[in-house]
């Protein structure tokens, strides 16, 4: 029973991390119907920003999360302003998609050149503080991961539902042209989407840093799962993404316990195929234009 409960805790922590990464992906897809392959590298850069804020500038871990958030936001703005927006203006949907791959490869190799290939030991001071109760354990780092994920989801939900910008963003995702006729500037809203999505990715990097093996390839190792989560949850569906993230986290934990970690990818991607075959709209089926 203790093991079952412990794996629930492990699964929720892992799922929370996946949700943090996948939320940005799903936001961009929901608004632009575009997959952002560079998202993984923003996660990695967020992790490195947090690391160097702590080890280079002597900052604290919690403050480093804010730094990673800001770095992610700035990078999102820069990528969209310099690359994706000009390409979108040409009217070819394929160009920005391919550009995200180019940006990803460029960022990865730039990080390799700057940070080197040797893994960094990104230790959060909270990783060594372990809370033990009823035979189970959780580190303070993992408590923070869950808390930040819940807070992020709540804030994002409130932003989307109750603020003018959030409503405008949903309007752009439903019908970009009509939203434009209503006085909304779609380009600014697309920029906002990239900034929010990349800020979330940067923050996810800071949360993942102590969990991941921190190298310039760190984000790549979680992004495939994040893509799977976005698909299982329903392309661009935020609620579906949250549900799918937690589900994949729990599946990973229980697969490790009862089948072995070597089976994780088989089980997760079998689920993905089943979802595509049986329920291609995802866990929470809505019309795409209502997803964000």
């Amino acid at each position: 029973m203790t093991i079952v409960l412990q794996q629930v805790i492990n699964g929720v922590v892992l799922g929370s991390l996946y949700v943090l990464v996948a939320l940005g992906l799903t936001l961009v897809y929901g608004v632009l119907v575009q997959i952002n392959f560079a998202h993984a590298d923003v996660v990695t850069l967020g992790a490195f920003s947090a690391y160097f804020f702590i080890h280079g500038a002597g900052g604290g871990y919690v403050a480093s999360i804010a730094v990673a958030f800001a770095v992610g936001a700035a990078l999102g703005w820069l990528m969209n302003a310099a690359i994706f927006a000009p390409l979108r203006e040409r009217g070819n949907e394929l160009l920005p998609l391919i550009a995200t791959i180019g940006v990803s490869v460029m960022l990865e190799n730039a990080m390799l050149a700057v940070f080197g290939p040797i893994p960094y030991a990104f230790d959060s001071p909270l990783s060594n503080d372990v809370i033990r109760f009823a035979g189970t354990f959780i580190t303070l780092q993992n408590v923070l991961i869950i808390a930040v994920s819940v807070a992020t989801i709540a804030l994002l939900y409130a932003f989307m539902k109750f603020t003018f910008l959030g409503k405008a963003l949903r309007a752009v995702s439903q019908d970009r042209e009509t939203a434009g006729l209503m006085g909304i500037d779609p380009d600014r809203l697309v920029m906002l989407t990239f900034v929010i999505a990349s800020a979330l990715a940067g923050m996810a990097g800071a949360m993942l840093g102590p969990v991941l093996v921190l190298t310039p390839f760190a984000g790549t190792s979680v992004i495939v799962k994040a893509f799977a989560i976005v698909i299982i949850g329903g392309f661009g569906n935020v609620e579906g993404t949250i549900l799918a993230g937690l589900m994949v986290g729990l599946i990973e934990s229980y697969t490790t316990q009862y089948l072995g970690p070597g089976m994780i990818d088989i089980v997760v991607f079998a689920l993905l195929l089943v979802m595509l075959a049986v329920r291609p709209t995802g866990l929470i089926a809505e019309k795409r234009e209502e997803n964000v």
Binding site: Q7, N10, A121, N128, V213
Partner: protein, 386 residues
């Protein structure tokens, strides 16, 4: 005017030609041993490549000052990425473009196994220092030589020491799902079981696994575990060690289990793992405290060049180059002669230890293996088991 211009042009062309021939002549006079290096420069095993390159460059710089039997050593690096496909492509590129007399590499067994047939076909000797899979030298390939103790030599030794010196009776095996990971774990399993020990779980995982909390939880639920032999690269190794501490399995987390590690981990692992590494026992391929003059000179030269102490990866790469220099001194100057001279090597002494190749081109010396235990201040205590 025209004549003057023409004269100037002729002079310029003549000067250029003389200079070109002079340079070409100088190159033609240089006798060179071409060494191809297939190293992981990218990917999760890239720390091998970075550190290998340091060792290689130190040795080459030192040897080229005076030359080796009238020859200079020239090294060309290719990124083999610790993975079979990029390694094979890199090997083909190296053989076609650089035409080496000898090749160094790879570090990861899967990559080494993949490049062996390509290099054998080109009839160029391959000198390996970091791969442990038994298949590399069993049944043996006439063109592949291995300095490092193979997985059987390492695994049998670790299992024997775990059972006899640590009185371990139960073990959990943790390994990446690669030829080397599975092979090392299997050897430990067979030896430990034969001695009377019990394997409680054999847990393999892919290189894409990041979070080891679920694995540590599973191990914590297995009851009393004495030792946990672990076969992974550094990045995953760090996360495993920390997860085992958090789950209260190992000494760092007030548990009783002792993690056993291999040559795969670089120096500095303990400092990165922190408190979680307490009690970790692992083998290293190079003892920086070795008092032989060869080792002291190497340590001094390395510190002077890189402003840090050498690791065992630096050391085994250094040994690869000085072993090649040794066979060149013995008169070998082309691929066939280098192969034959390597095969005849019985008493080479390097900074990691000695080399004596058997019929399968496996180094039979075990003096490169040193057992170290991590103390609370994260320093090492040499256990002197070999």
């Amino acid at each position: 005017m025209t004549l003057r211009l023409r004269s100037r042009t002729v002079v310029a062309i003549a000067t250029g030609l003389i200079a070109t021939f002079a340079v070409a002549g100088a190159h033609a006079d240089d006798k060179v041993i071409k060494i191809g290096a297939l190293l992981p420069i990218s990917g999760p095993g890239s720390y091998f490549g970075v550190q290998d390159k340091q060792g290689i460059e130190l040795a080459v710089e030192h040897l080229n000052k005076a030359g080796v039997n009238g020859y200079k050593l020239e090294v060309k690096y290719e990124d083999s990425a610790c993975s079979p496909l990029p390694a094979t492509q890199a090997a083909k590129r190296l053989l076609e473009q650089f035409k080496p007399d000898v090749v160094l590499g790879e570090e990861c067994s899967d990559a080494t196994l993949a490049i062996m047939p390509v290099i054998e076909e080109a009839k160029v000797p391959l000198l390996n220092a970091g791969s442990s899979a038994i298949k590399i030298t069993d049944p043996g390939n006439p063109w592949t030589f291995r300095i490092m103790p193979n997985e059987v030599m390492q695994g049998v030794d670790i299992a024997n020491n775990a059972y006899k010196r640590l009185n371990a009776r139960t073990a959990v095996l943790l390994h990446e799902n690669t030829n080397a990971g599975i092979g090392n774990a299997n050897v430990f399993n067979e030896t430990f079981t034969k001695l009377g020990g019990k394997i409680l779980a054999d847990i393999g995982f892919g290189r894409d696994v990041n979070d080891f909390t679920a694995i540590a939880t599973r191990i914590a639920g297995l009851g009393a575990v004495d030792v946990i032999p672990t076969y992974t690269l550094e990045g995953q190794g760090l996360k495993i060690t920390q997860a085992l501490m958090q789950a209260g399995v190992t000494k760092g987390g007030d548990g009783k289990a002792i993690q056993l590690g291999t040559i795969w981990l670089p120096f500095g692992f303990e400092q990165k793992a922190g408190k979680a590494a307490l009690g970790y026992i692992r083998i290293v391929q190079f003892d920086p405290l070795d008092q032989r003059p060869l080792v002291r000179d190497f340590v001094t030269a390395f510190k002077a060049k890189y402003n840090q102490g050498p690791t065992h990866l630096n050391a085994h790469a250094y040994d690869q180059i000085i072993l090649i220099a040794d066979v060149v001194k013995r008169g070998a100057t082309n691929a066939q002669q280098i192969r034959d001279a390597l095969a005849a090597t019985k008493s080479f002494s390097g900074v990691t230890g000695s080399v004596a190749f058997d019929k399968t081109n496996q180094n039979t010396s075990m003096d490169t293996i040193h057992y170290m235990e991590t103390l609370p201040d994260l320093s090492w205590k040499p256990l002197g088991w070999n």
